[in-house]
Amino acid sequence: MFKAVLNNRSAEPKNIRWFYDQYAPMLLGYINGIVQNPQKSEDHLVAILTSFVKDVVVSPEKNRLNMWLELRQYAQSKLTLYTAKDHPSNHNQSVPKGGLDVLDDLQKRIFCAVYYHGKSIQYLATTIGCDESEIRNQLKLSIDKMRRASGN
């Protein structure tokens, strides 16, 4: 126990502020996509950012692309109560504005199941009733559509 406490790394306040400005709005949007409750999402945002800053060294020098991916997966692992809940890619859920409107129902369902709930290709193939290559293809198509829609 003491070893764990003594090994705890403390973050610089300016790094915390930089990290917050950079990722808090994205993370809140992501959490709200999973939790579907603004008040609970804000509570989870505080808890997740606090523990992430405590557990992981955050600084502007660190590779920014990996940082968001790492943070997203960290958040997903902290929200297992919601992600493990048996709602196989609920496509009727309200998701934050931006991007998803360009997807058709199947693509939205697949994207949300993977992005918000971390469902595997194999799981989705079984649930939806098509083969894995089709799921993989639909996932790629949905990401491509959203990238194009956002001008990339």
């Binding site: 403390s10 996509g33 804000e42 991007g99 290709i121």
Partner: protein, 164 residues
């Protein structure tokens, strides 16, 4: 040509979405090292995923940063307190043991005292009083016995004198 096919296969998307199998992750990492085109495409995809997340972002309410900073400070303060406490306890124990070792010879000893229930006090008083009574009786009967023996002795002497 081959690498373009891999880029279009959806492998990168699976990796970036965090649902790639261990085998797929290893493949992506080795392709990233081997092919600059794959590396560039992967980095572009990672960047675009961040842009997508920015498009879906929600501005946190005012005061959220203060809450986070407060929580982090609280955790750091608690950790500091635990650490200080641990250090002081550890150094006290160490010094105390060293001092003890220097001043005294370590002897394994057992206490001579014993704990007894208070109720036993009255039993001990009763035993003491009875002991005194028995002692008084013993002395009394001893003296009585000695007196009787002397009387018998005198009677015997008297009888002998009468018989003569």
């Amino acid at each position: 040509m081959e690498i373009n096919k891999i880029i279009e296969s959806g492998l990168m998307e699976t990796y970036v979405m965090g649902i790639a199998t261990e085998e797929e992750v290893q493949k992506v990492l080795s392709l990233k090292k081997e092919y600059p085109a794959f590396k560039a495409a992967l980095e572009q995809l990672e960047y675009d995923m961040e842009v997508l997340a920015q498009n879906m972002s929600i501005e946190p309410p005012a005061g959220t940063l203060a809450k986070i900073e407060q929580e982090i400070n609280e955790i750091q303060r608690q950790n500091q307190a635990v650490q200080n406490n641990f250090n002081s306890e550890y150094s006290y124990d160490k010094n105390h043991q060293e001092n003890k070792r220097e001043k005294y010879i370590e002897v394994e000893s057992e206490s001579n005292q014993m704990r007894v229930n208070k109720a036993w006090k009255w039993v001990f008083v009763a035993v003491f009083v009875l002991g005194k009574i028995f002692l008084a009786f013993a002395i009394y009967f001893y003296l009585e016995n000695r007196q009787i023996k002397e009387q018998i002795k005198e009677l015997k002497i008297e009888l002998k004198q009468k018989n003569r």
